[in-house]
């Protein structure tokens, strides 16, 4: 049963791994460009494991930005994870403490999205499934970072081989996957517009947090659907 779940997780995470791999290689190559050693690049992928923020980090480091500002920027890009971890708390309360540690360490965007979808389908969110899904993404992410760093020069200009278009399209696919949820269209519209405005007036990476908060506030203020009359109860735990 546990093994089945693990393999089911691996199969589920496989397409994510395929689409994330070019970015792992790209990160490795760009890290070398920005003064990282091969070790530094893999060390960052292994300890942060947060693609978009890793890209931001190497970019700022390459521009000799103050260390505290680099860390703050990475924190800002990853701030959305606070919302993810609050949101999946409902589904993982049966995990042990050690399991929760790994669960949160490995909580990347597609991992969160698939955990929510699995719970929505009524399938059990087991640690074995979660770990299988995570490992098929985490391990290749390190390998691709290493390969990208080693063969950095061979990737050349990412735009020339169309890599730059993959990330936004991938995220768009995730957005579409949630289109059955309440208030999906107004939330997407408001978050999109707010992030564009914030990017223009405040700048990157704050457009991520500002745009997200705009959509979430809207969802909290819109009329509630009928079936939410019974609030979900969470047992108290550490």
């Amino acid at each position: 049963m546990t093994q089945d779940d693990f393999w089911q997780g691996i199969r589920g995470g496989f397409p994510v791994m395929v689409s994330a791999s070019p970015f792992g290689a790209l990160f490795g190559a760009l890290a070398i460009d920005n003064g990282f050693s091969v070790f530094d690049a893999v060390f960052m992928s292994a300890t942060l494991y947060a693609g978009a923020s890793q890209m931001v980090g190497i970019e700022l480091f390459g521009h000799k930005v103050q260390p505290w500002l680099i860390v703050l920027s990475i924190f800002a890009v990853n701030f959305r994870h606070i919302l993810y971890s609050a949101s999946i708390a409902r589904h993982i309360r049966h995990f042990s403490g050690v399991q929760k540690f790994f669960t949160f360490f490995l909580l990347v965007d597609p991992q969160y999205a698939e955990t929510e979808k699995r719970a929505e389908r009524g399938e059990p969110v087991t640690f074995a499934w979660y770990l299988g899904f995570a490992m098929i993404i985490y391990v290749p992410w390190q390998i691709m970072t290493l390969l990208g760093a080693i063969f950095g020069q061979m990737i050349g200009e990412p735009r020339a081989i169309g890599l730059d278009v993959l990330l936004p399209i991938y995220f768009m696919g995730l957005v579409l996957g949630f289109r059955k949820r309440d208030n999906w269209l107004p939330v997407v519209a408001v978050s999109s517009l707010a992030s564009i405005a914030a990017m223009h007036f405040v700048g990157s990476p704050w457009h991520v947090s500002i745009g997200a908060i705009a959509g979430i506030l809207l969802a909290a203020c819109l009329p509630l659907p009928k079936r939410h009359e019974e609030p979900v109860t969470l047992e108290h735990e550490v």
Binding site: F61, P67, F75, L107, P168, G173, D182
Partner: protein, 103 residues
């Protein structure tokens, strides 16, 4: 890069990794301090993925240039019917075709 600069980079990465882990556990720690989730908070939580991911999509659409915007529009249209891997493949084909034709 000399060795003190290199140590500084290692410290930056470790600090950033710790900050990232805080974001990943922070929401859980906050929400488990509450006995039950108020309905409006649940509605807010349900909107999180679409809200956050939209902010990673919309600016790229506006700022990516004609080729990226066209590829995203086509991927959006097919994305209502096919898996995300096909969206990526088709979007990539569109952007490469436009770039090939407009060189």
């Amino acid at each position: 890069m000399d060795s003190s600069e290199h140590m500084q980079l290692i410290y930056i990465i470790l600090a950033a990794a710790f900050a990232t882990f805080l974001t990943r556990i922070g929401g859980y720690v906050m929400i488990t301090q509450m006995k039950r989730i108020p309905p409006r908070m649940e509605a807010a939580l349900n909107s999180v993925p679409a809200a956050v991911l939209s902010t990673l999509v919309a600016p790229a659409f506006v700022r990516g240039g004609f080729d990226v915007a066209a590829a995203m529009l086509v991927a959006f249209a097919v994305g209502l019917r096919v898996s995300s891997l096909w969206m990526l493949a088709i979007g990539w084909l569109v952007v490469m075709t436009i770039r090939y034709l407009t060189v």
